[in-house]
Amino acid sequence: MLTYSIRRLLIAIPTLLFISLVIFLILEMAPGDPLADQPLTVPPEVREKMRAALGLDQPAWVRYLLWLKQFFWTEPLHLVDSLLGTGFADPAGRIVSWQFRAPAMDIIWQRLPQTLQVVGLAYLVGVIIAVPIGIISAYRQYSWFDNIGTFVSMVGFSVPTFFTGVVLIIVFAVNLHWFPSIYDTTLKVTDWESFLKQARQMVMPVTVLALFNASQISRFMRASMLDNLQQDYVRTARAKGMGEKVVVLRHVLRNSLIPVVTVIALGIPTIFGGAIITEQVFKVNGLGQLLITAIYANDLPMVQTLTFIFAALTVLFNLIADVLYGVLDPRIRYD
């Protein structure tokens, strides 16, 4: 298992390098000029200096290697510095966002808590409601509970999140005034009052995303439970005189959770990057929104860094899911 994990980690390195190159090339091929919206009155020689200040006068491969060095060498060093108070990194060498005129990683760290709070909580809630629904649906297959559950989950992943979000806003924020329609990111939770306020503004975005996640995960849970309920060992367990509770919750559930756990692990990277639309609907100031504004503003270093972080998370959680599968299921041996 250990050798398998190490081998996968080693394969991940060229994959990530290749992905970063692909992202860089897409950005490079793009015709957009980051200095396009400068006034025409700026003299050409000043314009040249501005290009040089952004590093745009260098050839593409130099800029790519520079980004690699910044991302894999300067930024980790800076992280060590800020944690331990040492002085390894040269602060001038960090990845600088063009629109904020500040290090890109600092802004990403600022935005991360909002995204994790809203999207992470929604994922958690989704998993917590999906698993029991999946279990009951499968155990009572074709009952009214199963039929309603199947229909709701079909609706859940067919209705796009931007529409559910907007409908919730119209009903609960505009007509009923129960929840605010815009997420206030400056709110600091200091006492009970502000905690309630924070909870109220999180209800709608969390509901939208949790419904979407729960409908997908409950389908997997149901399918996996159904597969296991028909196995011989279930009949054996029943024949031994075990109670239904033990059979379903101990024998069947444990086995059916194996594929579901990997599905859940595979979904985790989308917590960071996939909620772009929900963040946009509720004006949550998170990573998805940061990416959208960076794309609009032609902020190439920020776009490159963010997209690469999303890709790295996807590769990492793919690996974790595969390893988890091997750990949880003794029938699977990678070596």
Binding site: L27, M154, V155, V159, I276
Partner: protein
């Protein structure tokens, strides 16, 4: 009487049934899929035949400013059953026009993604030499962050393409290509798996032994047998493409404002959703109904095409 009853004679004489009739029989038993098929058919009919019955121009803005101001933001009435939008354009006509674009994008993007997926899956499964390379490429695509990349591609290339090919064609091609190129991976994996098992079957060996060239082996013997998983992923691909297109339009990165799609109509109505919620609800319901019915059709097809379930 020794004479056989007419029914038995007919049963004996009846020519062998096409397997697609069996599939249809199984499909009919899936109630959700049947309802989905009816709803999707109704939507298709409404957006294709609707403009011949409802002859208002979806992009018509009254040139007289006074009339235009009067016509803006009307509620439902006989003249405009779905009301009018912020420029006084008829919403019913806009929804029908938007549906045509949205579904056209969905179908074309699905066709591209299925073509790429099948091609890569068949080549990887059939030719051992290409397998490693193509499958690691598939894995690579699967680990790309797709929505951010789609956004990037669309923002970066919309200007030059719409200048080169005209706004509508350029953006249509761009969005269809972007969605197709980022959604073929699952089809490729499924097709490769199927081809790998089919390749070892005796009839393929027999065909090979009489000297059938690889190309005809693939086209005549392998491809018809992987049609069922391809059809299922094609149906699900339409739903996926419609959602992606409307998400892009919703973020303001899809089609231009005077070229309605369902996502774009919804996006345009967001600013005034507190005053005119109907304008948000209509395109949203249209998208959701279409995707839901297509997903149900896919579900029913999956059951109908699975010979292990069929006939039970």
């Amino acid at each position: 009487m020794t004479e056989a009853s007419p029914a038995r004679v007919e049963a004996a004489v009846r020519p062998p049934r096409n397997q697609w009739w069996d599939v249809w029989d199984q499909f009919k038993t899936h109630r959700g899929a049947l309802v989905g098929l009816v709803i999707f058919g109704a939507i298709l009919f409404a957006i294709l035949a609707g403009p011949f019955l409802w002859r208002l121009d979806p992009t018509y803005v009254d040139p007289n400013p006074v009339n235009m101001l009067k016509l803006r933001n009307q509620g439902p009435s006989l003249a405009h059953p779905f009301g009018t939008d912020q420029l006084g354009r008829d919403m019913l006509a806009r929804i029908m026009a938007g549906g045509r674009v949205s579904i056209a994008v969905g179908l074309t993007a699905m066709a591209l993604s299925i073509f790429l997926g099948t091609l890569i899956g068949v080549v990887a499964g059939f030719f051992k030499r290409m397998d490693g390379l193509l499958m690691s490429m598939t894995d690579l695509f699967l680990s790309l962050p797709l929505l951010p990349l789609l956004l990037l591609m669309v923002t970066l290339f919309r200007e030059p393409l719409s200048q080169a090919l005209g706004t509508e064609t350029g953006i249509f091609l761009l969005i269809v290509t972007a969605i197709g190129v980022t959604s073929w991976m699952h089809t490729a994996r499924i097709v490769r798996g199927e081809v790998l098992t089919l390749k070892e079957r005796e009839y393929v060996l027999a065909a090979r032994s009489i000297g059938t060239p690889s190309r005809r082996l693939v086209l005549r013997h392998i491809l018809p047998n992987v049609m069922s998983p391809i059809m299922v992923s094609a149906t699900l691909g339409i739903a996926n493409a419609i959602i992606t297109e409307s998400a892009l339009s919703f973020l303001g990165l899809g089609f231009p404002p005077d070229f309605p799609t369902w996502g774009r109509i919804l996006f345009d109505a967001i600013d005034q959703m507190q005053l005119y919620p109907l304008r948000v609800i209509l395109p949203g319901v249209a998208i959701s109904l279409t995707v839901l019915s297509v997903n149900y059709i896919g579900d029913g097809l999956r059951d109908a095409l699975d010979p292990r379930i069929r006939g039970r």
